[in-house]
């Protein structure tokens, strides 16, 4: 590969990244267009795209996403999510603050195991219903749920596409991911719960007569298919057991997810329009295009150069490197979609991890990247797909949320998350190591 190839690949990538970040064109078309441009010289060939671990499409991520999307498609037919959300709202006995806290905890837990976007798509209609019954604005609730969805997504390997990209590339096991990230996520979530009364001080005034309207909701009516609910429960237990034991059973999480999806399709006997209802083919194509573009940068040596430059700039101090990765990730993924950022940074952090020899915890740079990339998505309305979805839902419901309204609240949540992440990484991986 020549310098010309490197410049060409970098130019294509930067143009595509800017177009994706500014949302001027459909991002899937941009990613596929950028991937096609990489074939033109050719900068990368089909073998490198389809079969190479270093430069190719990360099929583990694609199929992990696909498997989980199918599983979610089937699970949502049961109505269990709506049941849990309404049951939680009723447990709060009509107190808007308690309802918000319970709903955001449901969102965060759901988001840890399901895709963030799916989680907010499931929780938002229930939120609108409850707020309408109470006669209060749903905006604070929707914002809190967007924040909670992004926070929860950092807890597990399958909680967020960004977590999947980084975790798969770093070969992190489900258990390792959970044991390292869940404590940080729990701390950030506790902080969010403490913040919400201060973030939304006027959101919790309600006419006491409206509380009965919420208590009159019947969550049992949400469960439409008890047999399917039991089937989904059993399969989900098996899938997550498979995730936990995937190293021992020598089965990548992608295969575990696809196996679970296949079993659910067969035993549920649902039609294709149901079991594929949550599969976002455009998103999968977007990821494929993105991987090809990043692979081309690896192939042309651009990533090597970037990693060397980063290493020179930051130095070899592990603590400094971790904090720089964390801080930069928080900032950048807060203003651009965190998925392309994660895909770009993964090979760079991989190189940095390989070159740093005095890491007490070999994966600390990855933990910094994950926390920064996933939690940083709360900064602005553009930082994460879940934010964009919430904004769209709020607008359709007649309660628009402006970019600055989101950013004002998001900045507080993100700053708090950053402070907690800095403290967590420093204490766990340096002070106590």
């Amino acid at each position: 590969m020549t310098l010309f190839h490197a410049i060409y690949a970098s130019t294509v990538f930067v143009v595509a990244f800017v177009l994706i970040a500014t949302d001027r064109l459909n991002k899937t078309l941009v990613a596929l267009g950028g991937a096609t441009a990489m074939f033109l010289l050719p900068v990368i060939n089909s073998h490198e795209v389809f079969y190479s671990e270093e430069t190719g499409v990360d099929w583990d991520v694609i199929f992990l996403l696909l498997g989980m999307m199918i599983i979610v498609s089937v699970v949502r037919q049961t109505g269990v999510f709506e049941y849990v959300a309404i049951w939680s709202a009723k447990r709060a006995k009509g107190s808007p603050l308690r309802i918000m806290i319970l709903l955001l905890l449901v969102t965060a837990i759901g988001s840890a195991f399901l895709d963030n976007v799916t989680t907010v798509l499931l929780i938002a209609p229930v939120t609108l219903l409850v707020c309408e019954r109470l006669g209060i604005s749903p905006v604070p609730f929707l914002l809190a749920e967007a924040f909670a969805a992004n926070i929860g997504g950092a807890a597990t390997l399958v909680g967020d596409p960004t977590s999947m990209i980084i975790g798969t590339a770093a070969d992190l096991s489900f258990v390792s991911f959970l044991s390292n990230m869940a404590p940080a996520v729990i701390l950030v979530l506790c902080a969010l719960v403490a913040l919400v009364p201060r973030l939304f001080p006027e959101a919790f005034i309600v006419d006491s007569e409206r509380i009965a309207d919420v208590m009159a909701l019947d969550e049992r009516e949400a469960i439409r298919n008890h047999r399917l609910l039991i089937q989904c429960g059993l399969v989900l237990v098996g899938v997550f057991a498979g995730f936990v034991a995937h190293k021992q059973i020598h089965m990548e999480p992608s295969l575990v997810a696809m196996t679970g999806a296949g079993i659910l399709i067969v035993i549920s006997r649902l039609g294709r329009e149901f079991y594929l209802s949550s599969v976002e083919w455009e998103t999968l194509l977007f990821f494929a295009g993105l991987f090809v573009m990043v692979g081309a940068l690896v192939r042309t040596g651009v990533m090597d150069e970037l990693a060397h430059a980063a290493s020179h700039a930051i130095g070899t101090n592990a603590l400094v490197t971790t904090m720089v990765i964390l801080g930069v990730s928080f900032l950048i993924s807060g203003v651009v979609d965190n998925v392309p950022y994660a895909a770009t940074m993964t090979p760079i952090v991989g190189q940095l991890t390989s070159s740093m020899h005095q890491l007490h915890n070999h994966d600390v740079l990855w933990w910094g990247l994950i926390l920064g990339t996933v939690l940083g998505g709360n900064l602005t309305a553009l930082g994460a797909s879940a934010n964009v979805v919430i904004i769209g839902i709020a607008k359709r419901a007649g309660n628009p949320i402006s970019f600055w309204e989101f950013t004002r609240k998001g900045a507080v949540v993100t700053a708090t998350s950053l402070a907690i992440s800095v403290g967590y990484l420093w204490v766990r991986y340096f002070l106590l190591a």
Binding site: P125, V126, E132, A216, R396, A397
Partner: protein, 147 residues
């Protein structure tokens, strides 16, 4: 057979009328929809009954139909209250605004093709720009069976 042969008089409503008035007309006369006219009395839009039904369903129920069941019966019985204060203009589906009318000398097939393309339950008929009346889907089908 031409459009003028099967056109019939039909209730109309103005765009700035109360939506509840439109709902009453549709319900009381079992209409498939209603013709919305502009200030000059010319055809402006078609408001199908199904669109009105859609309007009374809360957005969150349209996004998640499961939630229709969790609402109590008393709430469900009062969903028409969602229409109070709303004008007919707010309910109009985009694809049926400025609906091109059928001409008085259009054949039945031409009328049917327009209705199929626009997915409308009724279509206004004009002669030299003046509203003659309306052809509903059921009237069209009756004419088709007769011929």
């Amino acid at each position: 057979m031409h459009a003028a042969d099967i056109v019939e008089e039909f209730p109309v409503i103005t765009i700035d009328a109360e939506s509840l008035d439109a709902v009453r007309m549709i319900a009381e006369q079992s209409l498939p929809g209603i013709l919305v006219v502009d200030a000059s009395g010319g055809p402006f839009a078609v408001l199908p009954a199904s669109q009105v039904v859609r309007f009374i369903v809360p957005r969150y129920v349209q996004d998640d139909p499961v939630l229709a069941g969790v609402l109590s019966e008393s709430v469900a019985d009062h969903i028409a209250e969602r229409l109070s204060g709303k004008m007919v203009g707010a309910m109009l589906p985009e694809h049926l605004v400025d609906v091109p009318p059928a001409e008085f000398d259009d054949t039945i097939l031409e009328v049917a093709a327009k209705m199929a393309r626009l997915r409308t339950p009724l279509i206004p008929v004009v002669k030299h720009g003046r509203l003659l009346g309306v052809i509903t889907a059921s009237r069209l089908l009756a004419a088709v069976l007769k011929s």
